[in-house]
Amino acid sequence: MENYFLILIGTVFVNNIVLAKILGLCPFMGVSKKLEAAIGMGMATTFVLTLASGASYLVNHYLLGSELAYLRTLSFIIVIASIVQFTEMFIHKTSPVLYQVLGIYLPLITTNCAVLGIPLLNVQENHDFIQSLFFGFGGAVGFALVLTTFAAMRERLEGADVPLPFKGSAIAMVTAGLMSIASMGFSGLVK
């Protein structure tokens, strides 16, 4: 139990996938202009990532084993792509505005390095099935959390008197960097 809790805390705060591992920056920069879109993206990613962690564990453990390890990346990508496709259809049906808001970024979850990174890290750290699920879920929650706070900050920045050369993405990158500095405080907390 403590183990799972540590995995959660570790992935959400300490080894945050965006701030510490610098993964998933594409949607982090792309879908953080509006809080609502960020929350939607966070939820979509959480869904995809948790599912992808579990599915890729199953694929890795039961289909590939150690002898077909060279197929790992390839098959993970296929699994993730299908899950993303599924999510896309689901969102298109249930929330057209969210679908439009997520726009190009929804299919881009496929190539969100976070979504491939987490299953690969799972394999690397020899997580069992439940651990993989927690790791995937924790990583995604960390991603969603950072994405939402970042989106709220960018909404605030809309009204800020930012010097012209730094307006828009530039100041967003600076902000992301400062957030990363802030999260470095947690380093050393969980091994």
């Binding site: 694929v59 289909l63 098959s75 439009q100 808001v101 726009g103 008197d161």
Partner: protein, 191 residues
């Protein structure tokens, strides 16, 4: 080798089946976004965007076939609201749409009008009343100022007159709030 092939084929078939099922289950009818976009467009029906009316333009935007910066009467405000709805970066107005025009209505010079009915066939909102061989009149309250009635008039008796500011339509100016000494910047802020 055979194992690898079997695994990949198995994966492909299984995931394909899931996706196929999903595509039937979550089939989307129509595009509800069109209504939302249409609600933002000013409904002047002027066709300056290159589409024959606001609804077709809305459809084009919703399906991603048209840029959001083509609406001349709506100007910056409409473009921003579209960008907001669709979650895309605001774009500068297209060259043809960038000329801001004061709100205006058509006025028919009744001395010249020959009652040819060509103008009210052109009016997209039926704001011109009259009958064949009778002088036509513009309903000020319904005229959207689209100028579509100007070209068909054989005697050039229609002119556009700006709507005068009255107590009912009066607006407060952007407050004087000088943050910098830069004259250019203040102009930008107050305009």
């Amino acid at each position: 080798m055979l194992n690898a092939l079997l695994v990949m084929i198995g994966l492909a078939v299984a995931l394909g089946a899931v996706l196929g099922f999903a595509s039937l289950k979550f089939k989307v009818e129509g595009n509800p976004l069109v209504e939302k976009v249409d609600a933002i467009l000013p409904q002047i029906q002027c066709g300056q965007c290159g589409f024959p009316g606001c609804k077709p333009y809305a459809e084009a935007i919703a399906s991603g076939k048209a840029a959001i910066n083509l609406c001349a009467p709506g100007g910056e405000a409409v473009m921003k609201r579209l960008a907001d709805l669709l979650g895309v970066e605001p774009q500068p107005l297209a060259a043809e749409a960038a000329r801001p025009k004061p709100k205006q209505v058509a006025l028919i010079d009744e001395q010249i009008c020959i009652g040819c009915t060509l103008c009210f066939q052109a009016c997209p909102v039926d704001a011109i009343v009259g009958a064949a061989k009778q002088v036509h009149t513009v309903l000020d309250s319904e005229c959207t100022g689209c100028e579509l009635c100007l070209p068909p008039c054989p005697v050039d008796c229609i002119t556009m007159v700006p709507v005068e500011e009255g107590l009912n339509g009066w607006k407060w100016n952007y407050p004087v709030y000088p943050i910098s000494d830069d004259a250019r910047k203040d102009v930008e802020v107050t305009s």
